[in-house]
C-alpha cells in the first residue's frame, strides 16, 4: 500500500438472496492485502442490516456485490437505509453482474462507481484509494 494513503474502513455486503459470494470475498481479501480494514457481512443481508453494519463499523465506504440482476431495487433500498441512519455521506460502490445500461441508473441513485464482472483488483483498489484515500 502506498504509505501516503490512509487505511480505509470498508464494508462489503451481499444484499438480497443471491448466494454468489466468490467475488465479494476475493475483493475483500484483495483490499485487506492492500492494507485496508474490511468487514464482509455475509449473505442475505437486509438493507437495514447493511446500514447498521456501516454505522457500527464507522465505514468510509460500502461496497455491494449483486449478481442476481436485482441491483437496481436493492441498491436503492440500501441507499435509503444508509440515508435514514444519517449516513448520507458514505459512498456506495456496486460490483457484480451489472449491465452497462444500468450503470447510469445506479449512478443516479448515488453510486460512485460500478465494477462489473471482470474488473481487476487493481482497478478497484486504485479507484478507492484515489477517490477516498
Amino acid at each position: 500500500m502506498n504509505p501516503t494513503r490512509r487505511s480505509l474502513r470498508i464494508v462489503i455486503a451481499k444484499p438480497g438472496l443471491d448466494g454468489h459470494d466468490v467475488g465479494a470475498k476475493v475483493v475483500a481479501r484483495a483490499l485487506v492485502d492492500a492494507g485496508h480494514e474490511v468487514v464482509y457481512t455475509g449473505l442475505r443481508q437486509s438493507p437495514e442490516a447493511i446500514a447498521n453494519t456501516a454505522r457500527q463499523e464507522d465505514a468510509d465506504l460500502v461496497g455491494l456485490s449483486i449478481l442476481s440482476g436485482s441491483h437496481l431495487p436493492l441498491t436503492r433500498k440500501v441507499r435509503e437505509a444508509l440515508d435514514r441512519l444519517g449516513l448520507g455521506e458514505v459512498p456506495l460502490l456496486v460490483g457484480g453482474n451489472i449491465p452497462r445500461k444500468d450503470h447510469e441508473a445506479l449512478r443516479a441513485l448515488g453510486v460512485r462507481a460500478v465494477f462489473p464482472t471482470g474488473t481487476s483488483f487493481e482497478e478497484i483498489r486504485g479507484f478507492i484509494e484515489r477517490e477516498f484515500g
Binding site: V22, R44, S70
Partner: protein, 536 residues
C-alpha cells in the same frame, strides 16, 4: 519420465499440484501403483465406469438447467427443450423458493421468478410438470435449503397423477453441506440441516427407492475456488458425512447408499479432470466397500452429473465460451458421466437465452452422434499417462480427505467456517495468479482484444409475472382449508421437535397446499437459522 536438466523443459504442474511429466512410460505407471486397481467397467472399483458397456448401451442423459418466471412459463421452456431432444429436466428455482420464502415475503421483493421458477404451493409444481411423462423424462430438482417442501410437493404431485412412488425416478440436489461452502441457499444450522438431509435419504430409501435423494456437489465447491483434487475430496467427505449420519439411525449402508449421486465440475485442464473422475470413482467404491462394508455393488458406484463449467467461462470475448463448452463436454464424455449439462456461452453474464441453451444441447448432441464419443468404454483407459496420473490423483484426493478428517471431519470444518475460508483463500490466489499471468486465460490475460462495450442482455425480468405469482398464491390460499393446513403444519413441527422423520408430515402439509414459506417457517421455529461464520 522426467526430462533431464539439460533438456531445458521447465516443470509443469496441474491446478491440484500434481506434476506432469513430459513423457509417460510403463515404468512410471508401475511406480505409481501399477494397473492392479483399474478393473473392468461395471465392476469394482469402477475406475473405467459404473456400467459394463457404458455409452454403447446407454448414452449420457442431457439435462440443461432451466426455469424462470412462473410455473406456466417454465412449463413452456420444458416442453421446448423436450421437443429439441433433451432427455431429462433440471429445474432452476428462484431465490425466494430456494431460501424457503414465499413470493410475498419482504425479502423476496425483486427476486420472484428472476433466476428460476417461483414455487409457493403444490399448485405451481402441478402446473410446471403438467403432461410431462415423469416415467420417461427424469427430473432433477436443484433445491437444497428448501428441499423438504419441494421434494414433498414433487412426490405429492407424482402420486396425484397416479405414479407409484416405488418406481419414481429422479434426483434432488439436496446437498446442504456444500451450500455452506458455496452457493449459499442454507436455511437452518449445520447439524439440523444434515438431519433433514438424513430424513430425505431415509424416506427415499424406504418409500421412493429409485429416486436419488441427494446429489453431492463438488461442483459449487470448485466454482467457489477449490482445485480439482479438493473438489473431489470435499465431495467424498460430504458423502461420508451423510452416510455416517444415516447409518447412525440404524440403517444398513446397502439400504440407502444407492440413493446418493454426485455433481461435478468440468472446466480446467482436460486430462486433470478425466483423472479426477476416474480416481474419484475408484476411491468412492473403495470407501464404500472397505470402510463401510457395503456389499451391493450399486452402493459403491459413483453416479454423476458432470457439467457446467461456469467458472471457466469469461465475459471477455464470449463467443470463445462456445469453444470452451465443447471441450468441457468432451471432458465429461471421456470421464464416463451419466448425465451432462453445459453452461451456455452467455452464462457468464446472464440467464441463458433460448438460442444459447439450444447451442449447448446441440454441442452435446454433436459429440454423441457425430464425433464417436459413444463408440467404446473409457477410451483413454490403459494409457500410461492417464493411468499413472489417475493413480497419483487418487493419492492426492486421499491425502486431502485424510487431512479433512484429521481436523475433525467435514461437519466441524463447515460449522467453524474452515472449509469456506480455505476455498475462498484459494479463489483469491487463483484470481491473483490470473492477474499476474501465471494461469493463462485467453481473452483475459493473453490475446486480449479491445472489445466494444457489449450490452449485457439480462433475461428480461417480468415484474408482472411476480405480481401474478403473488396473486396466484393468495388465491390458492383463499381456497384451501385453513384449519387443515394449521393442523398439518403443527404435526410437522411436532415431528421435527420429536426427531421423527419430517417427510411424511411435510407431504401431508403440502397436499393441503401449505406454502414453501410455511413449511420452512415451521422447521425454522424448531431448528433456528444458520449464522455465517466470519471471513478469516
Amino acid at each position: 519420465m522426467k526430462a533431464g536438466d539439460d533438456a531445458g523443459i521447465p516443470p509443469l504442474f496441474w491446478e491440484s499440484g500434481l506434476e506432469v511429466d513430459p513423457l509417460f512410460t510403463e515404468e512410471d505407471l508401475e511406480e505409481s501403483g501399477g494397473t492392479g486397481r483399474i478393473g473392468r467397467p461395471g465392476a469394482f472399483p469402477f475406475t473405467r465406469g459404473i456400467h459394463p458397456w457404458m455409452y454403447r448401451k446407454r448414452p449420457w442423459t442431457m439435462r440443461q438447467y432451466s426455469g424462470f418466471g412462473t410455473a406456466s412459463e417454465t412449463h413452456e421452456r420444458f416442453l421446448y427443450l423436450i421437443r429439441n431432444g433433451q432427455t431429462g429436466l433440471n429445474v432452476a428455482f428462484d431465490l425466494p423458493t430456494q431460501c424457503g420464502l414465499d413470493s410475498d415475503d419482504p425479502m423476496a421483493e425483486g427476486e420472484v421468478g428472476r433466476v428460476g421458477m417461483a414455487v409457493d404451493t403444490l399448485a405451481d409444481i402441478e402446473e410446471a410438470f403438467a403432461d410431462i411423462p415423469l416415467n420417461e423424462i427424469t427430473v432433477s430438482l436443484t433445491i437444497n435449503g428448501a428441499a423438504v417442501p419441494i421434494m414433498a410437493m414433487y412426490f405429492a404431485m407424482a402420486r396425484k397423477r397416479g405414479f407409484d412412488l416405488k418406481g419414481l425416478k429422479g434426483t434432488a440436489q439436496n446437498d446442504i453441506l456444500k451450500e455452506f461452502i458455496g452457493r449459499g441457499t442454507w436455511i437452518y444450522p449445520v447439524e439440523e440441516s444434515v438431519r433433514l438431509v438424513g430424513d430425505t435419504i431415509e424416506f427415499c430409501a424406504r418409500e421412493v427407492p429409485k429416486y436419488s435423494a441427494v446429489s453431492i456437489c463438488g461442483y459449487h465447491i470448485r466454482e467457489s475456488g477449490a482445485d480439482p483434487a479438493q473438489e473431489m475430496a470435499y465431495a467424498l467427505a460430504i458423502g461420508k458425512a451423510y452416510i455416517d449420519h444415516v447409518k447412525a439411525r440404524g440403517l444398513d449402508v446397502d439400504e440407502f447408499a444407492r440413493t446418493l449421486s454426485f455433481n461435478f465440475d468440468i472446466y480446467g485442464n482436460l486430462w486433470e479432470q478425466v483423472c479426477k473422475f476416474r480416481a474419484g470413482r475408484r476411491l468412492w467404491a473403495r470407501i464404500l466397500k472397505e470402510e463401510y462394508g457395503a456389499e451391493n455393488p450399486r452402493s459403491m458406484q459413483l453416479r454423476m452429473i458432470a457439467g457446467g463449467g461456469g467458472a471457466g467461462l469469461t465475459v471477455q470475448q464470449p463467443e470463445n465460451n462456445i469453444v470452451r463448452g465443447a471441450y468441457y463436454a468432451l471432458v465429461s464424455a471421456l470421464s464416463g458421466t451419466q448425465t451432462m449439462a453445459l453452461c451456455s456461452y452467455d452464462e457468464a453474464y446472464t440467464i441463458p437465452s433460448e438460442h444459447a441453451a439450444k447451442l449447448s444441447l446441440r454441442t452435446m448432441q454433436i459429440l454423441m452422434h457425430e464425433i464417436g464419443l459413444c463408440d467404446t468404454v473409457d477410451p483413454l483407459g490403459g494409457s500410461w499417462f492417464i493411468e499413472t496420473m489417475t493413480n497419483r490423483m487418487e493419492a492426492r484426493i486421499e491425502a486431502v480427505l485424510a487431512e479433512c478428517e484429521a481436523q475433525g471431519g467435514i461437519l466441524e470444518a463447515v460449522a467453524k467456517g474452515d472449509v469456506q475460508n480455505a476455498v475462498s483463500r484459494q479463489a483469491y490466489l487463483r484470481e491473483k495468479r490470473l492477474a499476474e499471468g501465471e494461469f493463462k486465460k485467453v481473452g483475459v490475460n493473453c490475446f486480449v482484444e479491445e472489445e466494444e462495450e457489449r450490452e449485457i442482455e439480462f433475461h428480461p425480468h417480468d415484474e408482472e409475472a411476480a405480481r401474478r405469482q403473488i396473486e396466484r398464491m393468495r388465491s390458492v390460499k383463499a381456497r384451501r382449508d385453513e384449519s387443515e393446513v394449521s393442523r398439518r403444519l403443527a404435526a410437522l413441527r411436532e415431528a421435527a421437535a420429536r426427531g421423527d422423520n419430517v417427510m411424511p408430515c411435510a407431504i401431508d402439509a403440502v397436499e393441503a397446499y401449505a406454502t414453501v414459506g410455511e413449511v420452512c417457517g415451521a422447521l425454522k421455529e424448531v431448528f433456528g437459522v444458520y449464522e455465517e461464520p466470519a471471513l478469516r
